[in-house]
């Protein structure tokens, strides 16, 4: 693979070009933030988060999945239809949708249309309550603390902080991109986010492991900057290959679900694909300058103390 070697041979100064590479994330973050604040845009939350209404109807000759779909498309709302086998015999369809104030209007209209075949209609609560999201948040935070403790034992504290910052960057970027592209967020997004977090940590660690190794055996008396650049250069091949192999699975998943129109799987694969790219970006272009800054500051402070 010649191109791989070519990239590796480019003597690019990763540690010194931090300022250039911070621009893109900041711009994306700002656009995301502005869209979040503007009322009516924000995250494109799906039914799992918003809740909504549910109407259950019997399956008959005229009431088929396609018929319901045509009907629901008239209202221009997000909806899902699931088919159920009732224990009392017969098949029913559950139509879930959310149109905020218009919910009761749609319920009435559906009840009118399907009259006696309507089994039940109701409002539904969001599947993910505030409480559950918070519990996910706290467990992620606890996991980060665990990670930090491990890194304190194995690496310099600055490496730990850089890893966490890179992690924060990756998470923020995905959220911003989800807002910008208005990708619908459902429960599967939490799984995607966790995947990206694990991946991001893994990526940073491989780089820092290399840095630590070189700092230890620094026979050629290289500067921190040279060590960082070399570390990135040496992990570059691995980075690209690993991303390529993981992306292969995910992109196939995305294509297959697009073909089969499995919207939940699309909502799942897309954020992970975005997350992998964002994670690769941060581990290539952001980790080195951040660590360089922190370490130089730490060394200067140490020298001052010594005086």
């Amino acid at each position: 693979m010649k191109w791989l070697d070519k990239i590796k041979n480019s003597n690019f100064n990763y540690a010194r070009n931090g300022k250039k590479f911070v621009v893109a994330p900041i711009v994306i973050f700002l656009i995301g933030f502005i869209l979040l604040v503007i009322p009516g845009i924000g995250f494109n939350l799906g039914l799992d988060f918003t809740g909504g209404a549910i109407v259950t109807v019997n399956k008959t000759e005229t009431i088929t999945k396609e018929a319901i779909q045509t009907k629901m498309n008239e209202y221009a709302v997000k909806y899902t239809i699931t088919e159920e086998q009732s224990s009392r015999g017969g098949t029913t369809y559950s139509i879930k949708f959310n149109a905020n104030e218009k919910n009761s209007e749609i319920i009435n209209s559906l009840t009118e249309a399907y009259s006696t075949d309507v089994v039940a209609n109701d409002n539904i609560q969001a599947q993910t309550s505030q409480e559950k999201i918070m519990s996910v948040f706290w467990s992620i935070l606890a996991a980060c603390i665990g990670l930090m403790i491990y890194m304190l034992f194995r690496f310099k504290i600055t490496a730990g902080i850089t890893t966490l910052l890179a992690l924060a960057h990756d998470v923020l970027m995905i959220c911003a991109l989800m807002i910008i592209f208005q990708i619908e967020i459902n429960i599967s997004f939490i799984a995607a986010l966790l995947t990206v977090i694990a991946y991001s940590i893994n990526n940073s660690l491989v780089v820092f492991d290399r840095v630590r190794d070189m700092e230890k055996h620094n026979v050629d008396n290289l500067s921190l900057e040279q060590i960082l650049n070399k570390s990135i250069n040496r992990t570059l091949g691995r980075c690209i290959l690993t991303v390529a192999t993981t992306l292969a699975t995910l992109i196939t998943l995305l294509i297959v679900s697009l073909v089969m129109s499995l919207s939940t799987l699309i909502e799942f694969a897309l954020p992970i694909i975005i997350g992998l790219m964002v994670g690769t970006y941060s581990s290539l272009f952001l980790i080195a300058p951040m660590y360089h800054q922190f370490e130089s500051a730490r060394i200067i402070r140490k020298q001052r103390k010594a005086k």
Partner: protein, 478 residues
Amino acid sequence: MQKLKYNKNYMNKTKAIIKFCVISLVIVLGMVLCCAKFTIPFTNTNYEGCFNAIKKKMGIDLNGGILAVFDVEAAENSTDLDTEVNATIKRIENMLSSKNYLEATVTKQGTNPNYKIRIEVPGMENTEDIMEAIGKPATIEFMEPTTSDNSSTYDANKIFMDGKGLKKVTVVADPENAGYYALKLTFTDEGTLKFRNKVKDNGGQYLSIFSNGELVSAAQISTENASTLGADGTVLITRNNGGYTKDAADSFALQIESGLYSVQLTESQLSRIPATLGEGAIMAGVISLLIGLVVIFVLMILVYRDFGLLANLSLLVYTIIFVFLLAVIDPIQLTLPGIAGIILSIGMAVDANILIFEQIKEEYCNGKRFSAAVHTGFNRSLITILDANITTIIVSVILYLLSDGAIKGFAITLALGVAISMFTGLVITRSLAKLYLYINPDNAARANIKLKANQSADGEQSTPKKVEKRKLNMGGAK
């Protein structure tokens, strides 16, 4: 530099090739065992194959499950229906997860006062199972202390406390009757107070507990115990004649527990539902995992040639072990987040191999002989692999302990996958590479490792002297 000896008598090229063939055969056998389905010879036991076992464990999103909707009816003396419904939901969630239905979702629908509780339980086969899991409710009532003669007759006027005074019911070992079990009732603060008030001045009297109007226990409060009984907020129910067996205690505890629902539930809908992700979801997942694996195989061979083959063999071992463990380990329930965990851990399994090969390449470029570079490469990448994987395991263990439902599924598959990938990367790939060195001890080009004329991404260390030395070695081999 590490010195290596190869005992040519013990192992030669032919033997090594034969060994590779045997290993490949074992791997093929493992793959067949994953998919096959047969009756084990000479026995009547059916071997169902891993995929069937895994399919049974798939969550509601992939494989469907049971949906139950209950109408909520407020209790007579209900004060705050919202809190009561929420408490009931919490209680049902706990009961389902204690029965290993980790991915069950319990949600509220409707508005006050016409609430409904909707329960979705993935992996459950029959509609009857749900009633078994959340219990046929039993009431529990405490009757004022009375004389021995009256203690076994239910008297509604004398009931001073019901299930509302209880926080939880647990099954503990019977302290006086080895091998048997007792129910430990834990009171709420208010319940403790009520209980104490009735008991403390009534030493010698009989305290009875009824469940669904039937006598469960009528015990004499001994005079010396009256002042302390229930002071810690708990009381034990034991059975006199022989004590409770574990099963009896469990089912009784469940009955009481479900009697503690603050509201009354009546079934309104009970049905079996298909996969919520849509019918092709499993198909889509399997197709993309397979294509993903093929891409990985091809890419590894393109980039690392012979070493790529080794990595692919070890990746196959990884896949087989993973499939077997997914089928065998009980608390694993496979849902979308679980699949995310699998995809990620496959990536990390490949990553381990890539890290090793890159390190080998670097060692070789630094002037080591090919075989020595392989050995040092493995040794030096060990630390990187350990660090990267241990952190991932730490993160997933914390996630597993602190979160519930779907996230647990992610954490468990990720931790499992990473643990297996460490094994295959550090043990399997390593032994395969050692074996490979008997076939090809010094031709690095076959592992796509070449020195460039201008030796250097990193430039340093490759003094002309070292290059010359390497050339000599290679020449010797020819």
